[in-house]
């Protein structure tokens, strides 16, 4: 403790070294390897260590890649919009209506499903939405429908539903935190200055909650794009997303350079879109609360 700035830094670095080294070894190095592979040639079951841009050219000119990438982006965007729109009122309710001693309980209730097996939850949606699933069989036994509803089956709709469910807490929490940070007297000031409830929400609450909404959007969007289980289970493998394509290239087809190139390309696209999204919304992020 009797330590100057230099040894303070040294102590901090020493302490952080083990987790950092672990992340570097198990995440950093593999990611760099992936990047390196994407510039090598595939020699059918072996890899030819020769620099090439072929993989990227192949990826960019592949209509299947375009289709799957666009579908992934579309699904992820749709899931993001649905999830955030559904989550906002809940976060608002939690922050403004629930009394402060009940808040931890509500938050706990909301986060619990998130921590239970993702696989089982996804599978259950399949069971719920399937041709002979819970919804259809339930409605049929109640005599409401004659034939099973098909619009909820093995398609983008059911995938969006499943993913919106899976990422719900991810969307609620950042918005809730942003709402919690809003000084309540600002809202009173808004009303005091003559705005009604709706306009106060529109002119004060929403802009101040935007950092949370933006964070929620990214937190939902990024992992959704990379989701593997939902397309495999719910989509019945017929509507693959980018993660399934990467996996297929890497393992089933065993073209690791091409698979790596797809992965790297997808990551770049997602990163670029995320940055663009942040840039578009930058005016909201400037507000420091």
């Amino acid at each position: 403790m009797a330590a100057g700035n230099r040894s303070e830094a040294a102590q901090g670095l020493t302490l952080v070294a083990p987790p950092f080294a672990y992340a570097l070894l198990v995440l950093g190095a593999p990611l760099l390897t992936l990047l390196a592979y994407s510039f090598f040639k595939d020699g059918y079951l072996t890899i030819i260590y020769e620099f090439t841009l072929e993989n990227y050219l192949a990826v960019w000119s592949d209509p299947i890649f375009h289709k799957i990438m666009l579908r992934s982006l579309g699904v992820a965007a749709l899931v993001t919009v649905v999830t955030v729109a559904l989550a906002f009122p809940v976060a608002y309710f939690l922050s403004f209506v629930v009394s402060s001693e009940r808040k931890p309980l509500w938050l706990f209730l909301i986060t619990i499903p998130f921590w239970t097996s993702y696989l089982i939850r996804v599978f259950l949606w399949k069971v719920i939405l399937g041709y002979n699933g819970v919804v259809n069989s339930g409605l049929k036994s109640l005599g409401i429908i004659e034939q099973p509803l098909t619009f909820i089956l093995y398609n983008v709709n059911s995938m969006v539903m499943t993913l919106a469910h899976a990422y719900a807490p991810f969307a609620i929490l950042p918005i809730f935190i942003a709402l919690e940070k809003i000084d309540r007297s600002l809202l009173e000031a808004g009303r005091d200055l003559g705005e009604n409830r709706m306009m106060t929400f529109w002119r004060v609450t929403l802009p101040l909650a935007m950092p949370g909404v933006i964070a929620a959007s990214l937190i939902v969007f990024i992992p959704t794009i990379g989701d593997y289980v939902t397309p495999a289970l719910i989509g019945g493998g017929k509507i693959p997303m980018i993660a399934n394509m990467i996996q297929a290239q890497m393992l089933d087809i065993d073209n690791r350079p091409l698979g790596s190139a797809i992965a790297v390309t997808a990551m770049i696209i997602v990163a670029a879109l995320s940055l663009l999204f942040l840039f578009v919304n930058r005016r909201f992020l400037k507000v420091r609360q």
């Binding site: 403790m1 009797a2 330590a3 100057g4 700035n5």
Partner: protein
């Protein structure tokens, strides 16, 4: 043991002859580019209640932590009891600390907190328990030993922190803003208790505070710090009556300032001309030449160093007429802003001066706009040049 120069001697034991316990010599401290301590020279005597007073960011806490061993110094020397503290870590120094937050261990009971430092003490457990009980008794918490520490009030936490530090019988007790978490009533009560406790144990206390009143109430001597330097080191009375600079004067209490023209150096002091006051001779001990300021020389006096005369009271000192500009009534005191006759004679700017009057029985509060007389004596004026 009384010394004629120390006005504190009447109520505080004079320690000017006591030996030095802490000595700082040209202590410098840099945080990267920030120069936190700029050459601190300081001697704290044994048994003294010493305060480091200054606004936030002046380096007082840094200096305290330097003495405690939590910060090492960039250059200079810190001696405690004649021993160089360079390289001696905090856990090996003969100092203990009462932290601003009190740092009461929330997972331990009151007794476990107080006995924390006795863990390596070779004495048998029963003796240690007795020591803990004695320390608790000293701070007025007898019988509180088994209480959970997180349920204590602010004042109780402070007492536990004191007992925990004093049980180790340190040579120096360091207190980092110990009153800042307490409300006003509690603060005043703890100030008195702390003085008593310090006299009782006879340990040297070094207090860090930004509260000038607290420093004046509690300390034998006070070091006023600004920007990493000691601006003045003096007893409370001297500090209040004869601040070394306009900045110290403003930090400790309120002081009125009037521009002054220096006319002549005399045998006993300086002859000056001040607007409203006329030509006065300032005695040399009331002359402060530490203030560089570009405002030129000025005359300063405390609001209570002059008085308003009632309509039928005969003047005993020099008297200046004036008009009451503002009256602020505080119950026990009334503050008047008075525009002295001729106060604008220097530069056309009229400067009302603040005058504090105690509301004793039979003295009426005067009204705004009333013509009045101000009584003052040259001995209560200070010249900053």
């Amino acid at each position: 043991m009384t010394s004629p120069t120390s006005s504190a001697s009447a109520r505080r034991p004079d320690r000017s002859a006591a030996r030095a316990l802490i000595e700082c010599r040209d202590v410098q401290k840099y945080y990267a580019d920030y120069h936190a301590l700029r050459g601190i020279d300081l001697t704290i005597r044994e048994g003294e209640f010493f305060s480091l007073l200054g606004p936030s960011g002046c380096g007082k806490t840094t200096l305290l932590r330097t003495i405690a061993g939590f910060e090492d110094i960039s250059s200079g020397v810190v001696l405690i009891d004649g021993q160089d503290m360079a390289g001696v870590p905090a856990n090996r120094r003969p100092t203990n600390m009462v932290f601003q937050s009190y740092a009461i261990f929330p997972h331990l009971t009151v007794a476990e907190n107080v006995g924390f430092g006795l863990r390596r003490d070779p004495r048998p457990a029963a003796e240690k328990a007795a020591a803990v009980e004695e320390a608790l008794g000293m701070v007025g918490l007898k019988g509180y030993g088994n209480r959970a520490s997180h349920a204590l009030s602010g004042g109780q936490r402070q007492r536990v922190a004191l007992a925990r530090a004093l049980i180790l019988k340190p040579k120096v007790l360091l207190l980092d803003e110990p009153m800042s978490a307490l409300d006003r009533k509690m603060r005043e009560q703890m100030q008195v208790e702390l003085i008593k406790l310090q006299r009782q144990v006879g340990i040297t206390f070094v207090l860090v505070t930004h509260d000038q009143e607290e420093a004046l109430v509690m300390s034998d001597r006070i070091a006023v710090m600004f920007e990493g330097q000691i601006a003045q080191l003096d007893g409370p009375e001297a500090l209040y009556a004869r601040p070394a600079s306009r900045r110290v004067a403003n930090f400790i209490g309120v002081m009125n300032f009037l521009p002054a023209r220096i006319l002549d150096e005399t045998e006993n002091g300086v002859m000056v001309d001040a607007p409203g006051l006329g030509v006065v001779e300032i005695p040399s001990r009331n002359i402060s030449s530490a203030d560089p300021g570009d405002e030129g020389p000025s005359i300063g006096f405390r609001p209570e160093a002059v008085s308003l005369l009632g309509p039928n009271v005969a003047a005993q000192n020099r008297v200046t007429g004036g008009v009451i500009d503002e009256v602020v009534y505080y119950g026990d005191m009334t503050y008047y802003d008075v525009r002295l006759d001729g106060s604008a004679s220097f530069d056309g700017k009229s400067r009302p001066v603040r005058i504090a009057m105690r509301n004793v029985f039979g003295r009426e509060v005067q009204d705004v706009g009333t013509r009045t007389r101000v009584s003052w004596s040259p001995g209560s004026l200070i010249l900053f040049r």
